[in-house]
Amino acid sequence: MERSIILARLCNKGRGGLSQRGISLNAFLEVVNARVLYGQNEVLKGVNLAVEKGEFVALLGSSGCGKTTLLRSIAGFNTPASGAIRVNGRDVTGLPPDKRGMALVFQSYALWPHMTVDQNIGYGLKLRRMPKATIEARVTEIKRLLGLDALGARKPANLSGGQRQRVALGRALAIQPDILLLDEPLSNLDARIRLTVRHEITALQRRLGITAVHVTHDREEAMVMADRIVILNNGEIAQVGTPEDVYNRPASDFVAAFMGAENLIELSAVTKGDRVEIAAGSFNSAAVASARGRTLSGPLNARFRGESVELSDAGGAILSVQGDGSLRLSGVVEQTSYPGGLWRHVIAVGPAHVIVDSPRSFEIGRRVSIRIPEEALFLFPKQ
């Protein structure tokens, strides 16, 4: 717990912190201060990243944040204006894509429509001038690994989306790359197939012990698949950490919101020693949180997830400090819906609206109290 917070803070500080981390760990793939420009537009603003051998790292961010650009720079399809890409200590920044020991799985799969499944998978081996028998054996092995045995003679047009995806994966794996790069490989699949393919890919990656970098805009996909998540925002790394880290200990307001803590309340606080004392406001109780090394004073952005709080009928004197020190908000239910499992309420808390889930429903117009436990409350200085 302590360590990961420190790591998160180091990462958040940017360049210095991360390259220290890169050196301290046994980095297999390293991106050092990479800057990429498209014309005048700076798409990557000095990104540092270290990936261990055998690790599965997800690059997560909304569209336009630079995650695909970072992946393409690693793959060798973009040349950084400055900075370096290293594999196993070797500088590959100037090398062409095929000399980096990496294979890329494209978002559109990019299968060659005029070739059969066998030819698609075997093409990389053919380029390496392997004997025909070896190619055949390897293609058969890959097909068995991916459950494509019966489809060798088919062309991509006659495959389903999931099968095409597996052929694309097989084509990349056939050349036995050191690093597998995945550019949103699941985004063209049906929602249901996507869930199973997620697990198939991670299982395969673990079994082969291959290092993987996966680009996605899907938070849950990144959480489920990756050992470590790199959250990108506007060409910069916002946070690096395990799924649990970035979910429970977001390093910034942006990360908290991106990881689903969309409810935003403005509070005011002072830090005294290792305690952050939140002042009571017209719609919130006073509360205390542990400072964990932060000095938070003045106006704050407080964020929380709708499913990690407790909803109850408004009592009498809720605006005083409660025994457990957790924050309470008072509001009025404005809207309810049932998305399944829990009831969802839109609650007006002063001028703000928050969305809160609860096992039982509260009717519209009811005054309610929202209890936010300390670990569910994310506090950041207001910009």
Binding site: D98, W112, G124, L127, R171
Partner: protein, 317 residues
């Protein structure tokens, strides 16, 4: 509706905007509606209304295309008012070398046009020097806007025995005036055709190449394919139908060009088009001219058949 969109797919290229002859059903429903709206006063049979609507277009096609074609075909078998193969016998006696010459020239030009347009399209698609690509893109289309007769005229002065090309070579000391030869023979025609038609095929081909999924090229690059292999093994197979269409259209165009053989190679053997003009202008011999026309029509039909068979096979897949 489904059946209709399917026929569109089968007809494929270029037929999207045309009313389908087999979509009479659609016409019928439209007119049934308008009849309802206008009351039952004009209770004309529906198929008759449909016919009246297409009649003007049909009349133009029949008058300007089918009638002349049929009369030219029947004229080929007409000697002094009686059915005969005499025109063909005469055509083969006089011009069999020219037929072979025509076919060889056009096939050879098509092959070269294909080669050069693949090179141009390939460089435009895969070239890594943006400035060179921009210059090529700007310059390669120019011959498209120059008429065949002007191409013939330019090349006549350029390729002649004491033309510009040989003069340059002599000035540069690459050859002596005595060893200079004229290119105004079959080579001149091939050069003219290739020079004029390559931009057309390259235009079609580079358009098709630009529209293929770019990541299929990157995937090959990622696995280690060099540019030539990408062009031959990845790009070309994806645009081969477009290449075939371009070459067939060029083939038919070259078969019908009269000005270039007249300008460059007005000797024997020459191309069928020149022979036809000669039969009509010098002898008013429409019979043999029609026979030659039918023979060149057979040559282009053979090529069209190759194309149709190819597209049918692609669609059935």
């Amino acid at each position: 509706m489904n059946a209709r969109s399917e026929t569109k797919v089968v007809h494929g290229w270029g037929s999207e905007e045309l009313p389908q002859p087999d979509s009479a059903g659609a016409f019928r429903t439209i007119h049934a509606d308008s009849l309802k709206a206008g009351g039952r006063r004009f209770a004309m049979p529906i198929h008759l209304i449909g016919f009246l609507l297409v009649a003007p277009a049909l009349a133009i096609v029949v008058l300007l295309f089918i009638v002349p074609l049929v009369s030219s075909i029947t004229g080929a078998f007409d000697v002094g008012g009686a059915f005969s193969l005499g025109n063909f016998t005469k055509a083969f006696e006089l011009y069999s070398r020219d037929m072979l010459f025509t076919l060889t020239i056009v096939l050879m030009s098509s092959a070269l046009i294909g080669l050069f347009s693949i090179m141009i399209g390939g460089y435009l698609t895969l070239g890594s020097n943006p400035r060179a690509v921009a210059i090529l893109r700007w310059i390669y289309r120019w011959p498209l806007f120059i008429p065949f007769i002007v191409v013939g005229q330019i090349l006549r002065t350029f390729l002649a025995k004491n033309g510009l090309m040989n003069n340059i070579f002599i000035e540069l000391g690459l050859m002596t005036p005595l060893s200079a030869v004229s290119f105004l023979d079959w080579r001149g025609i091939v050069i003219a055709f290739v020079w004029k038609q390559t931009p057309f095929v390259a235009l079609l081909l580079s358009g098709a190449m630009a529209s293929i999924d770019r990541s299929t090229i990157e995937a090959a690059r990622n696995l280690g394919a060099n540019r030539l292999r990408i062009l031959i093994e990845i790009v070309l197979p994806q645009v081969r139908t477009t290449l075939l269409v371009g070459l067939i259209l060029s083939f038919v165009t070259m078969m019908s060009v009269l000005s270039v053989p007249l300008m460059i190679n007005a000797q024997s053997p020459t191309m069928i088009t020149a022979n036809m003009a000669f039969r009509i202008n010098a002898y008013r011999d429409y019979g043999v001219a029609n026979a030659l026309g039918l023979i060149s029509l057979l040559m282009t039909s053979a090529v069209a058949w190759v194309y149709l068979r190819q597209t049918m096979r692609e669609h059935s897949r």
